[in-house]
Amino acid sequence: MPQLLPNISALLNNVTDSLDMFRPELCLIVLFLLVMACDLIYASNKGRACRMLTCAGLLLVLVANWGEYIETDDNVLFLFNGSLILHHSNIVLKMIIDAVAFAIVLFFPWDDQLRKHGKGMGDAYTIITASVLGLHVMVMSSTLLTIFLSVEMVSIASYLLVAYRTESGFSAEAGLKYVLFGMAASAVMLYGISLFYGLSGTLNLFDGNLITHLQQADTAMVTLAVVLILAGIGFKLSVVPLHFWVPDVYQGAATPVTAYLSILPKIAGFGLLVTFLTPFIADPAWKQVDYVTLLSVAGIITMIAGNFAAVWQQNVKRLLAYSGIGHTGFALMAVVTFSAQGIKALNFYLAVYAVANLGTLMLASYFANTMKAENLDDYKGLGFKYPVASVCFVILLISLTGIPVSAGFNAKVIVFSAVYEVYQQGHNVMLLTLLMTGAVTTVVSLFYYLKIPLYLFLKKQESEIHEYPSYKKLLVMVVILSALIILLGIFPDLLANLM
């Protein structure tokens, strides 16, 4: 403690200075309070009010982020005495998170399952707002403490959201599985963090002595610590072997929550992963753990596991869950490059994935709403009944597969070229294997993605099913997302140059 005293004023100054660049998060904190208050104050129709407030707030956060984006330029900033790191790519991820969160908040009441929730949805918005704050911090965190804090913050919010529909057995089951798996993962991660802390002597990842200390430590211990931490992050990314919860939870949760789970923590998780790896990659002295091999192997297995297992699926949400695992693997490929171009590619890929996945889940919700269709069999012949929705479905799936003309294709090309570029310099066979796996799993993914158009258009409807009211707003949103996908397919530079 005595050693700390002389620094206090400097530390405090740093805190106040940092607040300036902490505007979006501050907004979020305020928003969180407001929404909570709103939820308490409004007795009737509070869901609606809260939702509007949240949406408006998230837009504001987005704007604030944009301001930050312009301000930071190419600099790298450390906030709060090195607790948080801020640079271009982080901010981009935050913006993607904000935008997607905005869309998901819109999406919430459009889903019948959630709307029928007895208690209204005011608290859901509160939880989401808080989780967005957690996601922001997760993306920016540069110390082990902030990492753990933010991960837990997001986790708790996610647990609540998954188990949100208390009246549904599935939701409860999904919640239980998620919470048990998640807590175990975070416990493991915390243990890893404690070891890492002990070995490195610092919580700050960007501490100058970090690598030196770790290099002196026992390789097995360091590996254990790193692997345990990565396991915690991997849980968020749903990397094999930490993906087991994914299908069950995605299927059991309400569709907007699935959308939330499949996009936001994943994006933030990638941000976190990149930040966590940066010090090791930046320092050529680091020899203890070969991240390229580790992540490549994980990426390859993840791609294979996700895409191949998806072939079996009948439940649309479950299918998308597995495909999401596959996409994680593919995005890992971009991470493995550890190059600026790779990070750009990663960000673009994640953004496109977010849009397409959100769209498909919205459509899953749309068909569940209108036709009570959850399995592929229920989709038979719906294409002719709902042409617009079905065409959008095809477009989004095309993007997820990575066939032109769609944003997904461009994302894939950019990732491939980033990996290639790195391969050309180092001739690492792992990278080539990753490329091959990426290509093969693309074909495999077509196999199951195509099933949806197949059922929609090619199969004949067997029996006339009762029809429920249509959901115009949801449809409009989906059309916008599909248009965005095509637009980015033709002009990827609109978005990609921001990354």
Binding site: I156, Y159, A187, S194
Partner: protein, 101 residues
């Protein structure tokens, strides 16, 4: 003299016990207890290591955060377990397996 090694051994033992508990017990609450044990193993580590981190006291403060978060998470988890019990009339995780491939 209690050295760092002792702390580490205890924590490792705690972690392992926790791990065993979460894998073997047929009761969600017991699993939560197991997780709690694992968390505490880590917290013990953090505090033990924190002794050597003179400047920031990072370990100790981390431990505080971790304890709080563990409590929060457990609260949420218990709520969920409660809800599960309401739907399934059991909290044996093995019997709650409607969602599967």
């Amino acid at each position: 003299m209690i050295t760092l090694t002792h702390y580490l051994l205890v924590s490792a033992a705690l972690f392992s016990i926790g791990l065993y508990v979460i894998l073997s017990k047929r009761n969600a609450i017991q699993i939560l207890i197991g997780i709690e044990l694992m968390l505490n193993a880590a917290i013990l580590n953090l505090v033990a290591f924190g002794k050597f981190d003179k400047i920031n006291n990072g370990g100790q403060s981390f431990a505080l955060f971790a304890i709080v978060l563990a409590a929060a998470t457990t609260a949420v988890a218990l709520a969920i377990v409660l809800n599960v019990y309401r739907r399934y009339k059991t909290i044996d995780p093995d019997k709650i397996n409607q969602l599967k491939d």
